[in-house]
Symmetry: C3
Subunit: 343 residues, 3 copies
């Protein structure tokens, strides 16, 4: 379906494969949260704690599970997963500025570049030799692509992105502003106190349908490549070290750092601010909660944590003091046990 | 007062509304710390632990509280808050390269842009359609502004900054190099293992007198806008998720990550490396100390912490071992209590 | 030795000052890990846990310690430190695209710049007034150098890097994409709830042989300079506050944040995600392990830690609950001790 300014509800029902209850001719021009929606907007219920708003919302239509439909007086689209339906719906309402086809006159290309005629490259981009840009690719202003970079079909780069030489990007990949892919991994050997650089001879390979957040960095491999599999979603300000391999559909939230040579499985979720120690392996289906540090390999799927929720400072200060006494506590407890038992 | 290479002390006294003791004709050409200052420099005492330097400093003048003035033999400016006075004084000594008025010939503008004739836009910036640049704005080289961006009076952007479409910046805002505002929030729904993108339909709204540090990222909202209120100060490398709202005059130090849909009050201070969990609310006047993780809403002003200060590794290793035994300790302690009481 | 596509083993033996066992005419065209190497590749053994691969590897040559040489049937280069030898060897195999000498026609220079004729500056860079670029320097596309910046001999800047005015870079420095040096330190004084900016009057001074990772930020000093000594190695996404001084050959891993006015000694190693509190001093030879927070000055060399390794969520949740009871435990333990002793 082509993006429009507004849709009739029956169009949305077809798009979402939803059951429609109410007026299919109702005009919908945008999406809004339940408590903020006004006439002409559609909303959805995902989190049960907002159920109360079902009665008071002014939305012209609601996306609901079947069980939430009774007692609602407005128009309804019934689906199995309202949040997923909302996700799909956003694609109809996103403002896509008309895609200028072609390469801006200021773009500088090296030798032997191959740029599909349907690709768009904005002003002041610089491409090295042998760069390959596939059909439907869109590259924002100020991006710098090193020699031998390749970008797959329909991928989009926003602005001021840096891809070092030999980086390979798959299809339908979305990279946000300021991201840097293919910088040298942090490798060096120590020679009597001085660091000798280990030149990084690998590259970065990114699969299809990957999203890479703003100012995220992914280093090139030392000998082999750093590999981001298809379907991986990376938030902003993430650091991925050299030789890391991330499995399909794994999602990683902002400010997470992954040290070198880590292997992460498929369908994992790393929350924000997580740190992963180098040279370890995390199996498929692992969830790591926010600000946790993973030191050793994780071989069983499940949820892992080491983050500590903040307390009032004075409470926390007292706990810290007690922490330092733990060893002493342990010894006193053992001694006491002996005394009590011996009596 | 216009910036000059040097000032006589009486000028500075007037500028700071300070009481002058000593030679008002004394020439001051720069500011320096107490222990480093030489003749021709002015210094100040903020931290009492540097009080000893009051006797030995070679500064030509000192900014002091009244109580610190006796026993000092050099020229003095007496104020209520020397640190604040120092802050104000820096504005007189900062080197401001002459502001070239006008738009560099290499700047590329979209259609219907409105650029005030007093604004300055440096080389190789690219502006989308309908961009609005107010009077006195200064934009450094290599910035990319998407369609419909607006920048308020006297705001300054350094270099290589990326503002996505529809981002609105207030007056007297200072944005440092590499910052990215308006990239997509990290939103997606899971459809049988695969991630479906939630297109981010909101934008980013920044108030007046905000400072945004180098390489900091602020994501656009999912349905509504991400809002940074007036007077907010953000350090470098901060990540602010979609839909976040930060209240007036809140200051946030470097490397802090704020997950989506967080509401932070006015006059809060988040120290460095803090993580804030998504969908929570932090009331006005909250201070969070460094490297703390805030998991739940904070409804009372005060200081909150969960950071742990580093110990010698072997000490810390022993504490960690004891931590894992805590549950066991608790049970043994209870058992022991029963035995002792029953005797 | 000039970089070639392949070398005979005896050339590599001379380059590494290694003892050669086997066929010196053997052709080597690249380096690979032990378990992945094929014919025509050289490998090395650093980590004893990969010793088993010595028998099965298909590498045409191996770099080994003397003690590992017996029982190996392929060609061998014997050295004291195989990892260091590997590091040196990478310099022979790194792909260096031919260095275009000269300044691209699109580079914009301010007044009185001094650019050595052997320096290379790529497309769309912008240099302020009085910039000084020494011999052999290479600057990638889209870099912005403020007024009075100086870059020492043979330093390399990748793309989209921002150096504010007055930043000084030494010789043989390597700066990766997206780094920002010289942005304002995070300094302000509070004036009845509003923040007054402390203009940052210092700059950033970087010594020789420093490496600075992608999207790393180093702030300019408030009154004095921020100083990065020679031989310092900084990974990606690091934040270094104003007035910080880092000693020679210290190495800092990704996502670490160093608050203002910190002094770090020589030959320190800070692992990833470390946070260093402001205004403290860390002596030479200190190692801080991953995700630790350093609150106070460290005056003795050694290893320091406060990171917590992630546990299964349910285990960790129970420990957190017990942590909050620690104060209570301590009191109950003391009480019990008194009772038992009094009996």
């Amino acid at each position: 379906m082509q993006n429009k300014k507004q849709y009739i509800l029956s169009e949305l029902a077809v798009f979402l494969n939803a059951d429609l209850i109410g007026d299919g001719q109702c005009l919908i021009s945008s999406i809004a949260p339940l408590d903020k929606a006004v006439s002409g907007q559609i909303s959805f219920l995902e989190n049960p704690k907002y159920k109360e708003y079902l009665v008071t919302t002014k939305a012209s239509a609601l996306i609901l599970r079947k069980s939430d439909a009774p007692n609602v007086s407005t128009n309804i689209l019934i689906v199995a997963d309202p949040y997923l339906a909302y996700a799909k719906l956003t694609s109809l309402f996103v403002h896509k500025p008309s895609l200028v086809t072609g390469v801006h006159a200021t773009v500088i290309c090296g030798e032997n570049c191959s740029i599909d005629p349907t690709a768009k490259i904005d002003a002041y981009c610089v491409l090295g030799n042998e760069v390959r840009i596939a059909a439907g690719v869109s590259i924002g202003s100020g991006c710098v692509l090193g020699a031998n970079v390749s970008i797959g079909e329909n991928s989009q780069l926003n602005a001021n992105i840096t891809l070092y030489n030999d980086v390979e990007i798959g299809k339908r990949v979305l990279i946000h502003g300021g991201a840097v892919l293919g910088a040298d991994g942090f490798g060096m050997a120590n020679d009597r106190g001085k660091w000798v650089k280990i030149h990084q001879l690998g590259s970065v390979i990114v699969g299809d349908d990957v999203e890479i957040g703003a100012n995220t960095t992914i280093d090139r491999g030392a000998l082999e490549d750093t590999v981001i599999a298809s379907g991986v979603k990376l938030d902003n300000q993430i650091q991925i070290g050299h030789n890391v391999r991330i499995g399909e559909n794994t999602a990683i939230a902002g400010c997470t750092g992954i040290a070198g040579s880590v292997v992460i499985g498929k369908n994992c979720v790393l929350a924000g601010g997580v740190g992963i120690n180098g040279h370890i392996e995390i199996t498929d289906g692992v969830i790591v909660t926010a600000m946790s540090g993973v030191e050793k390999s994780i071989t069983k799927p499940g949820v892992y944590s080491s983050g500590i929720p903040a307390k009032p400072h004075i409470t926390w200060w007292r706990i810290l003091a007690r922490l330092l006494q733990l060893d002493d506590f342990a010894k006193r407890l053992s001694k006491l046990e002996k005394e009590v038992c011996n009596k």
